[in-house]
Symmetry: D2
Subunit: 269 residues, 4 copies
């Protein structure tokens, strides 16, 4: 098992609810990637029942109902993952739409935060003459990295890629949304990706543990791109994937719960 990293990931929520607040959490390293979960533990105070299911994107979801009053949830996992950088292949080609696999087509469509239809002209203007292929997605990635200023508080849960583009600022989620939008506008399948990003090589531009990036389908597989960091990284642990942040959220709450504190970890073990 040389060439692997052991990474401890997890998070701790605490807050309070004024009524029973059903919540779906997406916190666990996903199934099917190269990483393995060696240890995993959940704790809530007070103890509440939790129920796991798999959504239509294959993401692992945990449902529970936050009871009225103070609440704490802690999730922790020890994960082993290859020590290599995010794979890359400058020779990977854009497929003609007719050649895309059936189950990839969904990632060419517009979605809640990614109006690839509305931004088609912008994408065409910016990247229409760039030679197709891996390099074009890299160019999109770099463009988004440079165009958006990273600034907490500039975006809300309603902010679309278009809005972030116009404002010129956002958080990692907006960076991912905007790059996804440009890709789809050019018929390149792209999906929003969410997970843990340890800062193994001390290169992060901003302290982060939970992070959002995206994947583009080129050649015969998905490739990782990170418009916030614009850099290949080691130890990325995917939690979930989907069309955009609607499909992959740390926590989706129905009810009236307040988050007081969130701490996240993602460190070499």
């Amino acid at each position: 098992m040389e060439d692997t990293l052991q990474i401890r990931v997890g998070c701790r929520f605490s807050g309070s609810a004024i009524e029973r607040s059903p919540t779906v959490f997406q916190l666990q390293p996903c199934t099917g990637d190269a990483h393995e979960i060696l240890e995993e533990s959940w704790r809530t105070e007070p103890d509440v029942a939790r129920h796991e299911y798999c959504d239509s994107y294959g993401n692992r979801c945990q449902r529970l109902t936050v009871p009225p009053g103070e609440f704490m949830l802690r999730y922790d996992a020890l994960v082993r993952t290859p020590a290599t950088l995010d794979p890359a292949d400058p020779a990977a080609v854009e497929l003609a739409p007719a050649d895309l696999p059936d189950d990839v087509l969904i990632y060419t469509s517009p979605s809640r935060y990614c109006f690839s239809d509305e931004m088609a002209a912008t994408a065409e203007e910016l990247f229409g003459t760039t030679p197709p292929g891996y390099g074009r997605v890299e160019e999109i990635n770099t463009f988004v990295h440079n165009h958006l200023e990273y600034k907490m508080g500039t975006s809300t849960s309603l902010t679309t890629a278009l809005a972030a583009y116009e404002r010129g600022a956002g958080v990692c989620r907006d960076f991912a949304h905007l790059a996804v939008t440009f890709c789809r506008a050019l018929d390149i399948p792209a999906r929003y990706t969410f997970g843990y990003l340890p800062d193994i090589d001390k290169k992060s531009l901003y302290p982060m543990d939970f992070h959002a990036w995206f994947e583009a389908y080129l050649g015969d597989r998905w490739w990782t791109f990170d418009p916030r960091n614009n850099d290949r990284r080691r130890g990325r642990i995917v939690v979930g994937r989907g069309c955009d942040a609607v499909d992959v959220a740390l926590a989706t709450t129905y009810g009236n719960a307040t988050l007081n504190e969130l701490s996240v970890w993602s460190d070499l073990a």
Copy 2:
């Protein structure tokens, strides 16, 4: 087989493409509903290869590539379906979010055309004091029916439910999107539904064959609502369902094809 109807449904596209234009068609009565397909036929001119797959919503999709030049596609089916009106149950209850089945949760989220997050305050204002349950969805249905003027040409493929609401006009797709949006804003799962609607009882407000409506999850099942007609109907044949019109479209084209003519039929056989 008393109490069934035989309905002939289908459509004929003709148009031309200036380049190879990969297209996904959703034209066939869906699998799993109460209807049965007795006969079915496809024809294209020129002959092109066609490939069937099932998307993540369970919809049947047909992929083919429209070649450059003139093109015609004809689909025809003879379907048998129960002769009854759309089922209804005024006693059907809204479930608490904690009680919704896992696979229904996706239909409480916002989507490309249905900003249930952004319209939450409007929904609350309009329907927040209405007693929950089947009657509240009926009220939403009637509100949308009355609020929107049916007017071809008032909406495009970019028109959201919010935009239609503000303009006060739209086509059946906008009617469906708006009602779906209100439902989701109130945590009532709602899905966009597309299919054939024969005018058996001569009650349609406007000639239609392809039609869009929606379904809401109440009690332990999905119920049909049609904000355009605001009426229960016989002989409705579902083609597909999804979060909104992104997921269920007659034809999704990658390329440059022009539709010259579309005729649709949906008649008692």
Copy 3:
């Protein structure tokens, strides 16, 4: 659309039931293969309700209840399929079990008619020294072709591959079961395949329309082998696939129905 064949396939059952007899039919060309269905029709006398579903192998199944008395079911389809012979590649390799895709593993296990565990020593003795790869599956195919005498009436719905092997006779279903059993005993994934086989080149050893054969997973895909004919053919139309004939049957009946007549067609159109 050069290099395609149009083939009319279908069948007509008639019989009678002394009680309501629920039945599952598997008659339709499958989804996902290279063929396309151009026309399709169903008829029953008397008319009965029919319900389609997809089983866990992805096979299309039609459920209906044969009513007491005389009954007739007729299914007919016009199918277009590539005009080429069954693909073959002598260079295709056997994968080490560690390299098999997850969803292929199920086809290395024993099943109702294929006791690959019990026949392991026989398989080892017969084929253990044959060089692994496509050629070994061909050798199994030829062995079964020569070892079994094709003889209607030598096997029943209880006949296992082992029993057919010992008796030295069987029908196409037994040929397929035996070859599947040998493959699995050698850790080569193999699945039972059922469908229509038109005799386009007048090479069939016996009149047949419905036919059973098998597929083996070598390299990165499934390859067709036909131990009954021991020959590559054109126009094969798959209806279904599974571990063995339990999973793919023309008709599975619960109740007491008698089949009086079955005619099957599979002809160039």
Copy 4:
């Protein structure tokens, strides 16, 4: 969280392999049941890569390759589960085959170890006149409990339910197979179930931790029956379900590995 039990389950394998031996393990409490996993850990010596997938029955499977030489695998989990006895309902009815859900039909078919076709006459003779319903499955359960003597070493991985029946002896797996076979012969859907059974109330007839039992579909759900113990129990933790032991096995090995020691635990925490 009153009325729950915390149970520590797990096992430790050690052995040696003379060649690389790919193995699929099924050890984890399943997803979708009422239990929750609070902690979970894996360890192997030497360290090897492990890969999780979900099979077509929804079971969680872990693939790894045992390297040549000594090997150890240890899995441990802390699980919370309702403190109640296996649910039971003497009023639950047998459904007519026409009324069974589509996805339940597969559990009426014969399988590798369960020749419900071949044992149809025996089942009819023994239980044909018993009134249908939950009580009939109880009667089958009690019959198997009494007919088979529990005796380690009386059965092998080739032993079918029929063979166990004729010999009058077997282990828990044979008890389950025989009861499943009788149920299916009477068109009652039945599935083989495997998991951990803590002996909370000190009622086990034999020390056991891993255990096999079965479930029958009556009314609108699956019910637990345990022919080995012939008793309702608390704290049962399901690992997997399938047609028979082919589909749910502690370990399925391709290669040449020897198990030297297996210890299993399933205790109140």
